[in-house]
């Protein structure tokens, strides 16, 4: 589980645009472990798109290296603009799905899935067998003879995913795969990616501007801003990082003290403590009434992780012992200082503004 299957080291990408230089990637180190779903999130222009294109070298990084499944792709690339044979072979073992599906309207659904197999030189009968098997896997067994123009967006993306899997890849790159889909379809596509990740042990690197995508499927995430990775780690690690923006976005808690002489604390659950009913233990042990002001919890791998904002009666000085109790349980406790957050600036501008699908 711990071996990185995708590693980028010191990746930079500088575009020349009418004599000016635009830095899209500014030293990106990324480690995607085998079998995980890794999400890179950021606003448009943050460099996510350049990053995912550098992973299979659709774009040549200016400096830095990309290693996928033990193969240094940057070394295979050579000079020149054309991709050499070795790089093309390496690419055929990396699946990629796109925001706008990129299916050939001139081919049937089956024909689209057979394209990568044709490139691999697979024989006709075998191509057709494999294509139908993949269609079955993505739940579109009855659409083999349809044309992409006859399918809905979600169905098109399923075809895109089936096509990406044709070369039996270890790694799937997803370039905003759900950004052109409605919320319900987005959920079903994410569920499919999750299932494939579990069933086939597929490692998924996805980029997105939607926090919901990261919330729904990602084991790990990285936040990009102006070409740099600002935060990165597993969801648990991010939660454990004080002041993590990603954790705040993934597990947003709000709520204010209901009156004077109250203490508001944020309790972060991650690791073993999360399995025990600490809040009710606290209440019973100290005989205090606890109000839950807000909570964002999730169950990952049978463990609860997340944040909860609770209110204890009395000022902080009176609550030192209960807070200590929570800390002893292995929880992270942050006292929310009311004076730091006066009412009129209570609602901070979200770090990640949702952008509309392009």
């Amino acid at each position: 589980m711990e071996t990185p299957v995708i590693t980028t080291t010191g990746l930079t990408k500088v575009y020349q645009s009418r004599g000016r230089e635009v830095t899209a990637l500014d030293g990106v180190d990324l480690h995607v472990r085998e079998g995980e779903v890794f999400g890179v999130i950021g606003q448009s222009g943050a460099g996510k798109s350049s990053l995912i294109r550098c992973v299979n070298l659709l774009e040549r990084p200016t400096t830095g290296t990309v290693t996928v499944d033990g193969v240094d792709l940057t070394a295979l690339a050579g000079r020149g603009n054309r991709a050499g044979r070795e790089l093309r072979e390496a690419r055929s073992r990396i699946g990629m799905v796109f925001q706008h599906f990129n299916l050939l309207s001139s081919r049937t659904v089956q024909g689209n899935i057979e394209l990568p197999l044709e490139i691999l030189g697979v024989s006709g009968r075998e191509r057709s067998r494999k294509a139908l098997e993949l269609l079955d896997l993505v739940g579109l067994a009855d659409k083999a003879k349809s044309y992409p123009g006859q399918l809905s967006g979600g169905q098109k993306q399923r075809v895109g995913i089936a096509r990406a899997l044709a070369g039996d890849p270890k790694v799937l790159l997803s370039d905003e795969a759900t950004s052109a889909l409605d919320p319900e379809t987005t959920r079903s596509i994410l569920q499919l990616l999750r299932d494939l990740n579990r069933q086939l042990g597929l490692t998924v690197l996805l980029i997105t501007h939607e926090m919901d995508v990261v919330k729904t499927v990602c084991d790990s995430a990285a936040l990009m801003r102006r070409g740099r990775v600002v935060e990165t780690g597993t969801v648990g690690e991010l939660l454990a990082t004080p002041g993590s923006e990603l954790a705040a976005e993934l597990f947003p808690v709000t709520g204010q003290a209901t009156g004077p002489r109250r203490t508001v604390v944020d309790v972060t659950f991650h690791g073993e403590a999360a399995t025990r009913p600490v809040i009710s233990q606290l209440s019973r042990t100290y005989n205090i009434d606890i109000s839950i002001l807000g909570a964002a919890m999730d169950t990952v791998g049978g463990k609860q992780i997340g944040r909860m904002r609770i209110e204890l009666p009395g000022q902080y000085e009176e609550n030192v012992v209960p807070v200590g109790f929570l800390r002893e349980q292995g929880l992270q406790v942050d006292v929310v200082d009311d004076e730091d957050a006066p009412l009129d600036t209570q609602d901070p501008t979200p770090a990640l503004v949702k952008e509309t699908a392009k």
Partner: protein, 222 residues
């Protein structure tokens, strides 16, 4: 002149015109298609970025397109003689007609191929496809309806050009119209050739459109 006298002349005219136009269309497609694709591939952002090749091909195509056909027709006489052995008659006319239409068709191909969504090219590359895969499995099949329209347009333009070829002894309907209708004031000949040309163009256009529609019916709605 009676209809029975006109009829064989007109029939021969139609046959000659179709002969010239069909062959010259074939040659222009054979040469213009690769040129058009080359223009796209060698352009900035293309798979075979090559400024020098792109510029040279572009300039040659532009020169070819800017010459009025009647001038080209005469200017090419020595070359035509070299290739065919004569510069008179329908066979000889295929040379200037094809050369005149190649740049025209190449530009149409360029436009058609350029319209193919770059994402599709990217997808083929991501699968490990090289330039031949991109050209033969993505660009040309995706551009097929536009390419068929381009062939139709070229065919029709060549019918027009072939009539001009009549002025320098090329044969065909143009030649009939000029030598009988214009030089001998046989108005019926003029009228008859006009009607035949209109019908010919209409039929070709209808056939071309039908072929495009046939492809469209395969559900290429997006």
């Amino acid at each position: 002149m009676t209809w029975s006298e006109m009829q064989p002349l007109l029939s021969q005219g139609i046959i000659d015109t179709l002969y010239m136009v069909l062959w010259s269309t074939l040659v222009s497609v054979a040469v213009g298609l690769p040129l058009g694709v080359l223009l796209v591939l060698t352009d900035k952002g293309g798979l075979l970025r090559n400024v020098a090749v792109n510029k040279v091909v572009g300039v040659v195509v532009n020169i070819g397109r800017s010459l009025p056909f009647i001038v080209l027709l005469i200017a090419l006489i020595p070359f035509t003689t070299l290739v065919v052995g004569t510069f008179i008659g329908p066979s000889a006319m295929i040379v200037p007609l094809a050369i005149g239409a190649i740049p025209f068709f190449a530009r149409l191909v360029e436009t058609a191929v350029r319209e193919v969504d770059h994402g599709l090219v990217e997808a083929a590359q991501a699968m490990g496809g090289g330039v031949p895969t991109v050209v033969f499995k993505v660009l040309l099949p995706q551009a097929l309806p536009s390419l068929i329209s381009s062939v139709t347009t070229t065919f029709i333009v060549l019918i027009g050009y072939s009539a001009m070829a009549g002025a320098v002894g090329g044969g065909g309907l143009g030649s009939v119209a000029i030598s009988y209708g214009y030089q001998r004031f046989e108005t019926q000949f003029m009228l008859a050739t006009v009607v035949i040309l209109v019908l010919l163009v209409t039929v070709v256009q209808l056939l071309g459109d039908a072929a495009v529609r046939l492809l469209a019916r395969r559900g290429r709605t997006s």
